[in-house]
């Protein structure tokens, strides 16, 4: 009954979205209808929420008469993973997509009190249109609440690799990010319809961009963290098409965050900001298409279904095609913005945008190139991590070089020589760090040392900016304190995000360049050397889990005979799906980690049993996650800035 109620609510939400579209778009000119459009937006969200709750209930109660539950859940699964199963499948995740899409629409309707009536109504109309497209797709082509004629007694369970806390929360954050860009998209289309883009428009768009980008940062980091400890060899980024699909909206979102500042503060770049606003959600939709259509081979794709791919491509084509056509038609008429000198913060932000966009282009092109090449040359080709690391690395390296100059250079007309003088100390620190790393780390790696120097440069640059703004080490302490507390949260947010990026670079360089690996078949009591550490296999026992059985190895890690930690990696077997996984055990040593894996059992030389034990020493690996976390925190901190609160700026 709940399930039918949910299906009905979903259909109702589709109808309400249609009403929202019509009322919203007409309401732009007839304010009497705008209120009804807002009501429809909230109603559509409630409808999808009821449908989502119905699916959630079906998963919690293991109602296997629902096809989606039967193929993705199991009675023995822990509650968290039953819940996560709701968005673990293609159908369920599309419902989550719709829930968030209508949720953002309802948020604009509910919180956008200060927005000009026309812009708000039209934006809601466009958001409603996106809702219609995606809800129609969900209702007609991927119904998550379809019943089975003959329900099975037991479900087919969720892939055990996905039964993990980080991955349970990965899709909701990712989608809050992806779909968050839909609001920015709708605002951009509404502005194009009105033919006016100004500083106020940029100020309304920026909080939504910040929110979406911060959530996307967390979502990507969670996914990467999951890959790191779940796949059993410590890889955290593979340049796989699906990862690239999530990374492209992130890069465009980062560019948009910066260009929107220029439009807001200086009224310049409005056309470009609009373009990025349309591009961000276009990349989100492209990602949804790539992941679900199977046009590209990926290590982690949803069950492939070409019809769904065609439908999603149509949605992408219709909405983005129309939006970009509108852009081509209306943008030449936009008022040219404020002028700025070649040496100014505007110019530096434009440089940042050029590099971020070119980097996005590299990721897009590298991802799609095998398709293009095969169509023209007839032979398959592979574009793998070495390509991305090189091209993306060079472009981003340049962006990192200029990054610290941005916040220190004045708007409109700045002086790069002054900024450089202010960054003297940061530059000296970076060079010193680079040389020290080059001299001290073994093996000696010039490129990686340069990368570390770049990370140090970004961090020291972020710190210099705070020092300059507070006149620290120059003015007396009370004045510095007054200035420190007077700094707006947006400014702290920026510093935090930039420093987070620097930390990430440090972590990424250390982890990839100075990782140590050891693998040996060990009998009980056997020992293997891992860099400065010794690993000993003490014992192996069996463990009964809730829905798995496991072999657990007890290891000790020592350094020069002194105990460091005692990790206990497992090798699990899930009878429901007849799958086995390895559960790694990690020891934290500062920012570094010892990563241990218990592999298969094999015969030792003497005839007794032995286990393949693999271990990695991952120096500074935690910075790879701490960095993005700081970036997301920085984004959310900026969001909490009073000046940026949703639509506050519209008050006269």
């Amino acid at each position: 009954m709940t399930v039918e109620l949910g299906a009905f609510a979903l259909a109702l939400a589709l109808a309400l979205s249609l009403a929202q579209t019509v009322l919203g778009l007409i309401g732009g000119r007839r304010p009497t209808l705008a209120g009804a459009g807002e009501g429809a937006a909230i109603g559509a969200f409630l409808g999808v929420a009821v449908a989502f709750a119905a699916l959630l209930t079906a998963f919690i109660t293991s109602d296997f008469s629902v096809a989606n539950v039967a193929s993705n859940s199991h009675t023995a699964k822990p509650l968290l993973y039953k819940l996560a199963g709701t968005w673990g499948s293609h159908e369920g995740s599309m419902l989550l997509w719709c829930l968030i899409l209508t949720g953002y629409g309802a948020a604009v309707a509910g919180f956008g009190k200060g927005l000009p009536a026309g812009l708000k109504s039209r934006a809601l109309g466009v958001q409603g249109l996106l809702g219609v497209l995606f809800l129609a797709y969900t209702v007609l082509a991927s119904n998550p609440l379809a019943r089975l004629a003959s329900p099975p007694i037991e479900g087919r369970s969720l892939n055990p690799l996905l039964q993990d806390p980080a991955l349970a929360f990965h899709p909701p954050f990712l989608y809050l990010g992806y779909v968050g860009f839909s609001v920015v998209f709708s605002f951009a289309v509404a502005a194009l319809i009105e033919g006016r883009v100004d500083a106020a428009w940029a100020r309304w768009v920026r909080p939504w961009t910040l929110a979406a980008w911060s959530f996307l940062t967390i979502g990507i980091a969670l996914g990467s963290f999951w890959a790191y400890y779940e796949l059993g060899w410590g890889g955290w980024w593979f340049w796989d098409p699906v990862e690239n699909a999530s990374f492209m909206p992130w890069l465009i979102g980062a560019a948009l965050l910066h260009s929107a500042i220029v439009t807001e503060k200086r009224g310049a770049l409005s056309g470009w900001t609009l373009f990025l606003a349309l591009a961000a959600f276009t990349f989100s939709m492209l990602g949804a298409f790539l992941v679900r259509s199977g046009v590209l081979t990926s290590v982690h794709a949803f069950a492939v279904d070409p019809t769904r791919g065609v439908l999603l491509l149509s949605i992408l084509g219709v909405s983005s095609g129309a939006a970009f056509a509108l852009f081509a038609w209306r943008s030449p008429a936009l008022a040219p913005g404020g002028v700025f000198a070649p040496a100014s913060r505007e110019s530096l932000i434009v440089l940042n945008n050029i590099l971020l966009t070119a980097a996005t282009g590299a990721v897009l092109f590298g991802t799609l190139y095998p398709l293009i090449y095969e169509a023209f040359a007839g032979a398959p080709i592979t574009v793998g991590p070495p390509y991305f690391n090189l091209v993306f690395g060079v472009l981003m390296g340049l962006a990192m070089l200029i990054l610290p100059f941005g916040p220190l250079t004045a708007w409109k007309r700045g002086n790069v020589v002054d900024s450089a003088a202010q960054l003297r100390l940061a530059g000296a620190i970076a060079v010193l760090v680079g040389f020290l790393i080059f001299a001290l780390m073994s093996p000696r790696k010039a490129l990686a040392s340069g990368g570390v120097a770049l990370g140090a440069w970004v961090i020291a640059g972020a710190a210099s900016e705070i020092v300059q703004r507070t006149r620290a080490f120059k003015a007396p302490w009370p004045e510095v304190r007054r200035r420190l507390t007077g700094l707006p949260r947006g400014s702290w947010g920026m510093t935090l995000a930039h420093a987070g990026l620097g930390l990430f670079i440090l972590g990424a360089c250390f982890e990839t360049s100075w990782k140590v690996e050891a693998a040996e078949a060990l009998s009980i009591g056997g020992q293997v050397r891992l860099g400065a550490f010794e690993l000993t296999l003490k014992s192996v026992g069996t463990v009964d889990g809730p829905n798995y059985i496991a072999e657990r190895g007890q290891l000790t890690v020592t350094r020069g005979g002194k105990p460091v930690c005692a990790p206990a990696p497992e090798r699990r077997f899930y009878p429901a799906g007849k799958q086995s996984t390895s559960e790694v055990a990690l020891c934290n040593l500062g920012f570094s980690q010892v990563y241990t894996v218990l592999g298969e059992r094999r015969a030792a030389v003497g005839g007794g049993p032995a286990w393949l034990v693999r271990a990695y020493y991952n120096p500074w690996v935690q910075l790879i996650y701490l960095g993005p976390l700081l970036m997301a925190l920085g984004g959310l901190l900026s969001l909490s800035d009073r000046r940026l609160r949703f639509a506050v700026g519209s008050k006269p």
Partner: protein, 149 residues
């Protein structure tokens, strides 16, 4: 309806397979060279994985081939040529820089240069309003004085 994430099972095979001690070469320098090469060679039957990561049987066979070639004294380039002769460019994770691939390698940089050119043309087209000259400054100051007076 198909079960979810069919391909995900492939992931479970990703287990740093190349580190298996039973495969290892005696000479650490040769082994290190082999590992560097593995990371650049695609496991042909897998989804975008290198033979360094993949546990698939074919990846194991390719690792064996590469290790044998290295023991036989072949250079890295010779080993790669050996593989591309048999499996085509598909086997390389890093596409070669060839006329056909020039657009792949240069495209992003050309895009960045085009962006720079656009920015530069913007400055040439519209010079920002020049700063006030000394004379104008003093006139402005005089006007402001009038206001306050």
């Amino acid at each position: 309806m198909r079960p979810l994430l069919v391909v995900l099972t492939a992931l479970m095979l990703m287990a740093g397979a190349a580190s298996d001690p039973s495969e290892r070469l005696q000479d650490p320098a040769q082994e290190a060279r082999a590992r560097t090469l593995f990371a650049q060679i695609r496991c042909l039957v897998c989804q975008n994985e290198s033979i360094d990561d993949s546990d698939a049987e074919l990846a194991g066979d390719l690792r064996k081939v590469v290790r044998e070639q290295i023991t036989a004294g072949r250079s890295d380039g010779e080993v790669k040529a050996f593989l591309t002769d048999r499996y085509g460019e598909f086997v390389l994770l890093k596409p070669r820089f060839s006329p056909a691939n020039a657009v792949l390698w240069l495209g992003p940089f050309l895009a960045a240069l085009a962006g720079l050119a656009l920015l530069a043309s913007r400055f040439r087209r519209r010079e920002p309003t020049p700063a006030l000259s000394g004379e104008e400054e003093s006139r402005l100051a005089a006007l402001l004085d009038d206001e306050t007076a």
